[in-house]
């Protein structure tokens, strides 16, 4: 197929533009950087289930592209996944596995298991040999109990009672290693996760903004978006900028009225035969 008819593709990656991009690179034009989620993501197992946490900064090189992005992705009603690495890869891979899990739920009629999500993720990532740069912390509660796993971009996984990933993982792991114990209560778990994420936010340059927390227990999931906002914007000028009308020099103006939708009046006389 030489790209004559652009029918919607059947899925999977398309490598049409690779030759052209290689040619551009040889001519000396550098390929762009992708948006990464610098990130601190954590998870821990407490007595009734799993708590996941993430910061909310998305970076593009040294610039903060999004001050409040969502890094805790939905996989199944009882399984959530935090993602670090290239933002497009984490979103795409978690969306894809989430759809596969839903189809599987329809086929089996049962609640999804965490190991199912884990196997789907690791096989996809291994197939692409690390080029799909997604590092994930997967957690959930199913019929066999609470589970927490980490998945690395090349496809290896670990099963752990507490885990951290991302550029802020060392800062967060230091908090976990000092304060984690088995049999934490829900409040203690949330408190510890928030502390670990804050350690990442304040000490790692790639993580920042707010703390998102997700608590998963048997039969109930709570997604606490922006659970803590330790970095409010305090420097805003109260007056703001105001521009007088007509301050900008305009060369030409064109105003198009949009079509108004016509209301069809009901209850007129019926048409004659």
């Amino acid at each position: 197929m030489t790209g004559s008819m652009d029918l919607p593709a059947k899925g999977g990656f398309s490598f049409e533009l690779c030759r052209r991009n290689d040619m551009l690179e040889k001519k000396g034009l550098k390929l762009p950087g992708f948006r990464k989620t610098g990130t601190t993501i954590v998870g821990l197992v407490f007595q009734d289930g799993v708590v996941l946490g993430a910061d909310t900064r998305a970076t593009e090189g040294p610039i903060v592209a999004d001050k409040n992005c969502e890094k805790i992705h939905f996989m199944a009603p009882n399984i959530y996944c935090c993602g670090a690495g290239t933002a497009a890869d984490t979103e795409a891979v978690t969306d894809m596995v989430s759809s596969q899990l839903q189809l599987h739920r329809y086929a089996t009629g049962r609640e999804s298991r965490v190991v199912t999500a884990l196997t789907l993720l690791k096989s996809h990532l291994f197939r692409y040999q690390g080029h799909v740069s997604a590092a994930l912390v997967l957690g959930g509660v199913d019929c066999t109990g609470p589970h927490l796993h980490t998945v690395y971009p090349h496809g290896s996984t670990d099963t752990l009672p507490f885990a951290t990933m991302g550029s802020g993982s060392l800062a967060a792991m230091s908090v976990f290693e000092s304060k984690y114990k088995e049999g934490l209560t829900r409040e203690e778990g949330i408190q510890l996760v928030a502390e670990a994420i804050c350690a990442g936010i304040f000490n790692d340059l790639g993580s920042g903004s707010n703390v998102d927390v997700c608590v998963i227990t048997k039969g109930k999931t709570e997604y606490l978006r922006n659970h803590q906002l330790p970095n409010p914007r305090t420097y805003v000028s109260s007056k703001g900028y105001s521009f007088t009308k007509g301050q900008t020099e305009v060369l030409s103006t064109k105003i198009t009225q949009l079509k108004q939708t016509a209301e069809v009046a009901e209850g007129g006389d019926a048409m004659e035969e």
Binding site: D6, P8, A9, G12, F13, S14, F15, E16, L17, C18, R19, R20, N21, L24, G28, L29, K30, L31, P32, F34, R35, A58, E60, I63, A65, D66, C69, T86, A87, A88, D89, E91, A92, H131, V132, S237, G240, Y241, S242, F243, T244, K245, Q247, T248, E249, V250, L251, S252, T253, K254, I255, T256, Q257, L258, K259, Q260
Partner: protein, 204 residues
Amino acid sequence: MSIFEYNGSAVVAMVGKNCFAIASDRRLGVQLQTIATDFQRVFKVHDKLYVGLSGLATDAQTLYQRLVFRHKLYQLREERDMKPETFASLVSALLYEKRFGPYFCQPIIAGLGDNNEPFICTMDCIGAKELAKDFVVSGTASESLYGACESMYKPNMEPEELFETVSQALMASVDRDCLSGWGGYVLIVTPTEVQERVVKGRMD
């Protein structure tokens, strides 16, 4: 030099009260030489949905043609226009499909959704969506645009004030970027009308 700096571009979208603004610069260059000063970067998908494409100009035009094609197919099948959220997912999927050989474009999508609620979003060149409630920027002037918009933006601006704010932010930012500028093109879309204006800027 990066591939994104080959043509030079600046695109910004901002949310107002029941309206949105999408604006771009007008320069088309080949590295440091200016080829055209009336290049279109903001395209209409349907009456209440616009897409601005910064980055490599040829990829912007190709991507726009593919998006319009997909939207027309959608209109034929569904007998209605696409919602902005759906369109954003479509663009994201099209870009991610080319993950290992991407289009060198950073799209900005702006539209009025249900109940004429303004919707804006941007993505990087492989489709990582970033939804925002205030403004989104892309292009070679993006760093200046971030700064200008961050200071000049106010929530719930009426269309006249929104136009002034977006134009001033765009003009201030492209003046600090060699590769973009040469005038500005600003579109304000409200539920009842679309205002297109060409703004006068420094031609250097």
